[in-house]
Assembly symmetry: C2
């Protein structure tokens, strides 16, 4: 079998010019039905497969979209990637994925790699906000959409979730269900700052509500368990009556520790709310209340902006697109039996 069947071989075999074959592929309506049939027949017989590299080279714009996430092991990013991929596929685009694993060097490598591949655009959850490398990339013409609220809206489009609103929402919900001694667990604080800000705002607005903090190194199940154990180690009287965990993984870990201590009930003794609404949140021992981030919407909006930016050229106005998350109430924050204080 011939290794490389090109448009030229097809043209020759069908007795037409290469231009016509190209038209069959891209503008079939400009081709006589007779020729169309002949060409398609030849394609099949020769086993022709269009070479997308040459196509993209010629057209200048790739059909690939680069995605760089912080950590693909985090179900939130995995789901986001899945949503983006599904959404991109609708337009015939392909997503190439890079997981920076919270490493600036890896992030840089992926950005360079994707730029060399002439991706149509990049979607990035940046580790340290907008780096010079990112600015250069942008100024060279590659559309960039950030998942980061600290991005300068003058020069970059960003799609973000309103972490402050989410934190506020979660904390208010705890207060509404009668809790007063609230613990915020999460960290590093630099990464969950907005959620914390929202939480502390809500706490300040209510008399008699105290907010204490417990910083973690990471947002994992294992860290969550440690948080849980620390709480169990507290004297009963000083324990919080509600915990706001900065993400669901952490919440799952906390839940595990607390439930193991059989003298403590969630939600009766301590309410618990997480963040992200990962698929597991609904399936934990005590189904977890959480803040849902509308992944599909984010995915759709990010791609919409990407296309806008790459199509509209200069007419496009950058901006920060903020999504408001949504409270999902499940069992873990059911009002305590003893009603509100």
């Amino acid at each position: 079998m011939k290794p490389n069947v090109g448009i030229r071989e097809v043209a020759e075999h069908a007795g037409v010019s290469v231009g016509t074959v190209s038209n069959v592929l891209n503008h079939p309506k400009n081709v006589t039905p007779a020729n169309l049939a002949k060409v398609q027949q030849s394609m099949i017989e020769l086993g022709f497969v269009r070479n997308d590299l040459a196509r993209q080279l010629r057209m200048g714009a790739g059909s690939t979209i680069g995605l760089v996430v912080l950590n693909i092991s985090n179900p939130f990013f995995a789901d986001l990637a899945h949503a983006l991929e599904a959404e991109a596929e609708v337009n015939g685009h392909t997503v190439i994925l890079g997981s920076s694993d919270q490493d600036a060097e890896r992030e840089d490598r992926y950005i360079d790699l994707f730029e060399e591949q002439r991706v149509r655009g990049m979607l990035i959850a940046p580790l340290h906000g907008v780096t010079p490398r990112l600015s250069r990339l942008r100024s060279r013409g590659t559309p960039v959409i950030l998942f980061d609220s600290s991005a300068d809206p003058e020069h970059f489009c960003s799609v973000t979730l309103d972490g402050t609103a989410g934190g506020y929402m979660a904390t208010n919900h705890l207060i509404d269900t009668g809790r007063r001694k609230i613990l915020f667990a999460g960290g590093p604080f630099s990464q969950v700052g907005e959620r914390l800000t929202g939480a502390s705002k809500a706490a300040r607005e209510h008399d008699g509500v105290t907010l204490s903090l417990m910083e973690t190194n990471d947002l994992t199940v294992a860290e969550g368990r440690e948080v849980g154990n620390k709480i169990l180690a507290m004297p009963t009287t000083s324990r919080p009556d509600a915990i706001f965990a900065a993400n669901d993984l952490l919440a799952v870990g906390i839940l595990q520790s607390l439930i193991l201590a059989s003298d403590l009930s969630v939600p009766d003794d301590i309410a618990l709310i997480g963040y992200d609404d990962i698929d597991f949140a609904a399936s934990t021992m005590v189904p977890l209340s959480t803040i849902r981030q509308p992944r599909e919407l984010i995915a759709r909006e990010a791609l919409r902006l990407l296309h806008e930016e790459s199509d509209a050229g200069s007419g496009h106005v950058h901006g920060r697109h903020l999504f408001t998350p949504e409270l999902v109430v499940r069992e873990s924050t059911r009002p305590a039996e003893r009603a509100d204080a």
Copy 2:
């Protein structure tokens, strides 16, 4: 800023020929230090970024690897993808990911798409084994590595896990810890056939051990909970004393139902073992015993075979590479208090 700075502009700016610029990029040792410096300086000044599309076109071989998995929402595949991506990145390759979501049409679309992109090779977890489309792809010269044990080892390389061994191992472990009435839960059976085969082999080899089956539609947490509820609905005397769940998601669901029924203890009344060793398995309420599939090894071997197949051309011998999984014992199969029957 000039939109497209090519090798030609760089050459002109540096006062050398395009060939020399190309050599700077690909064979720096053949270039005078003086020229090398000049060219590199020009590259920086002009903001040159090598166009990988043209490069791949010219070189004939892409640097991208296509991966098609059954369902990226399954943590096992997510982790596999992650491992593959990390491994590929070492060689400067990029992985493009497609999730067929168990849909044959989507699988086909991705295969076509990737072939048009002239990927260096494809890694596929096929839905229905080797389809004609796959054979065509292969015969046109794209290396294909399958994650499927039913593949014809004459014509395809495959990297698979010995599901029979895993099933045997899991079941034997249950028997070793004193269980006799074992339930295999999972499905559709067509997808978990090997595990079932292994389980039934182990059961047959031991007198007094019975194996019953419960088929599920899918391998999800939700299905697992249903399985759990069905078991709880059984009269106490006919309940199994051990469950082998065909994957961890299922096991997690089962565990949740069983634990909620406070009169039943895992592992004292019913032991439970899963399959895959997803990250969550260690973090469930009762840490889950499971069968670990060596993801990193699989990833490495798959890529090794891919390179071998694409380099060695005809000298390469296809084959089926079987990995033996590994038993991971955790709390959920601790021998029952009352010792063996």
